[in-house]
Amino acid sequence: MNDHLRHLYREMLRIRRFEERCVELYSATKIRGFLHLCIGEEAVAVGVMAALDPDDRVASTYREHGHALARGVPIRSVMAEMYGKMEGCSRGRGGSMHLFDTSVGLYGGNAIVAGGLPLTIGMGLADRLTGRPIVNVALFGDGALAEGEFHESMNLAALWNLPVLFACENNRYAMGTALSKTHAETDLAARAAGYGMPAETVDGMDVVAVEEATRRAVDSIRAGEGPRFIEFLTYRFRAHSMYDPDRYRESTEVEEWKERDPIARLAEQLIDDGVIDQESIDAIEAEIERELDDAVEFAEAGTLEPVEDLTRFVLTEVPT
């Protein structure tokens, strides 16, 4: 158990440090395009992934660095993708918003709000038809609940009793728009009732709570009891993207949420309980630092795909 808690802590810290490094690299113009950080939301990524089996599948959003890392996409290949290099997990064709690694069941990175949800319906349908005990997890933000694809997917999943977990990261904002300005019912879990789907709301700043709730849901889904919805209450500490001047919320609100930082909170608890000490925290930090240095080095040394290959991967290459 203590090992597991230390593991959760390390995973969250690794995502945090990865993204902080990405910010530096962005300023250094090594990384371009949109960059959406999940800093503050790491407990959801780590807690959800900790509860999944290796064969389970995940379809995520453009704010998915944490999901990818926690799911086991090698940090080197994620970093190389940020650099647009061939060694990247999407060969440099996806970038930050489109991380793919089917070998660990990561089916993207999707930059269309709610666009990945119907895919999980189809994957779940395929699993049901073939009798595979796989759980398909759709990760999406609060903004997705306003999209038609969300409602269509919830209905289909419930109607066909599919092995799909709807995991909503409610960080209270869709870009600059507060939840209450766009949703008539802001209790998002309550919305699942309209589809007859069991739902719960969980403290998304508490990695242990996230993992427990996910495990409960995943167990019941795997047992054939149909889809579930979980609303994780969380908060992004940083702006929506590198372009966002963050004008739409009070800094006091941000500061209040930072009090609940999932990483600091777990560290405090683990130290109090004697599970970890400052020395081992420092050691973890140093390890992660080395891992990141290595990932950056790997990405820097990576290859740019030859322009002759520009039009590859549009259609399947049939060997001639």
Partner: protein, 359 residues
């Protein structure tokens, strides 16, 4: 038969979603034949049946494909034969179930998704464009989407401006998908099978006027390969290039032109993406004249694309400007005479050919 509005033949079920009372008889075939003379509808059904029988990964999904029998009665009887898991009725959720088909294809299934008409595919455009067409590329080649999406297209049945358009040319704009339009019973029978064998997303367009048209279906495809155009009528004087619902109109026009001493070649594109440039250019190289007939609108259309390619690749072979016969630039109207005036017709094609012959 031409693309002129026709009265509903007795074997056609009217499109249920239009609310038209369904007073006509439904043709239910007894012992289903898979070769010989049959309607386009029966040929497509035979293709579906074969696909479902041969490959466990195949299933058909869409609005009213099951209990209702398909809004154009294409899948009639298949629910009884294959059961509700494989002939899957969906809610009115075009984006949801097209996306579900894509998801299932990503993990090893071979879904056939039916969208009632191309007009409703606009609600699923996000999934087709942003997922089906891009996933392989965005994932650096990790993901394949072997899905077939079937839909009806075209006018001619007085269904007005939300059920009559020919938007397949729009889809042909998109890299990452293939767009095919079987125009004959034989192609209906065989192109679906080849589309299913294709590792990439294929959009298959069925012109609504074709379902009751009878044709010969052979034991093997008359034209193998979904990417090849077919010369449906060889000729020396002019190349009439078309596809889908206007093929018959063009063949009728060619018969009339023959009486006038003009020997027209009629090319059935079969595939709008990719386009079979080689067949088109070889034909234009022989006839030195081209008229493109497309039920889509003229502006920014597939006919514009073909015309551009001819000027790029066969400019010096031309003896006359490339002619085009397209739909008038108007949402397809309801009134029969207005609808007829909107669409390509034998008269319009003959006129365009005359202009090409005497520029």
């Amino acid at each position: 038969m031409t693309a002129q509005p026709t009265t509903q033949p007795a074997t056609t079920r009217t499109t249920g979603h239009t609310g038209t009372p369904d007073t006509t008889k439904i043709a239910v075939d007894g012992a289903p034949a898979s070769t010989g003379t049959m309607t386009y509808r029966e040929a497509m059904r035979a293709a579906l049946r074969e696909a479902l029988t041969d490959d466990d990964r195949v299933f058909l999904m869409g609005e009213d494909v099951g209990s209702y029998g398909g809004c154009f009665a294409v899948s009639l009887g298949l629910l009884e034969e294959f059961g509700p898991d494989r002939i899957r009725d969906t809610p009115l959720s075009e984006s949801g179930f097209v996306g579900a088909g894509i998801g299932a294809a990503m993990v090893g299934m071979r879904p056939i998704v039916e969208i009632m008409t191309v007009n409703f595919s606009l609600l699923a455009l996000d999934q087709i464009m942003n997922n089906a067409a891009t996933l392989q590329h965005m994932s650096g080649g990790q993901i394949q989407v072997p899905i077939v999406i079937r839909m009806t297209t075209g006018a001619g049945r007085q269904l007005a401006a939300q059920h009559s358009h020919s938007l397949e040319g729009w889809f042909a704009h998109i890299p990452g998908i293939k767009v095919i339009a079987p125009a004959t019973a034989d192609d209906a029978r065989w192109m679906l099978r080849e589309a299913l064998a294709d590792p990439d997303p294929v959009l298959l367009f069925e012109h609504g006027s074709l379902y009751n048209v009878k044709g010969e279906v052979g034991a093997t495809p008359e034209i193998p390969g979904i990417e090849r155009a077919a010369i449906r009528r060889p000729g020396r004087d002019v190349s009439i290039i078309t596809y889908g619902g206007t093929l018959r109109t063009c063949l009728d026009a060619a018969d009339l032109l023959a009486d006038q001493g003009i020997d027209a070649e009629v090319i059935d594109l079969r595939s709008l993406r990719p386009l079979d440039d080689a067949t088109i250019m070889a034909s234009v190289g022989r006839t030195h004249r081209a008229v493109i007939v497309d039920e889509g609108w003229r502006s920014g259309s597939i006919s514009a694309e073909i015309s551009a390619r001819i000027t790029e690749q066969a400019f010096y072979a031309l003896d006359a400007p490339v002619g085009r016969v397209c739909s008038e630039e108007v949402p397809v109207p309801y009134a029969q005479h207005l609808e007829a005036a909107t669409l390509p017709s034998v008269d319009k094609i003959v006129k365009a050919v005359h202009e090409a012959m005497e520029p």
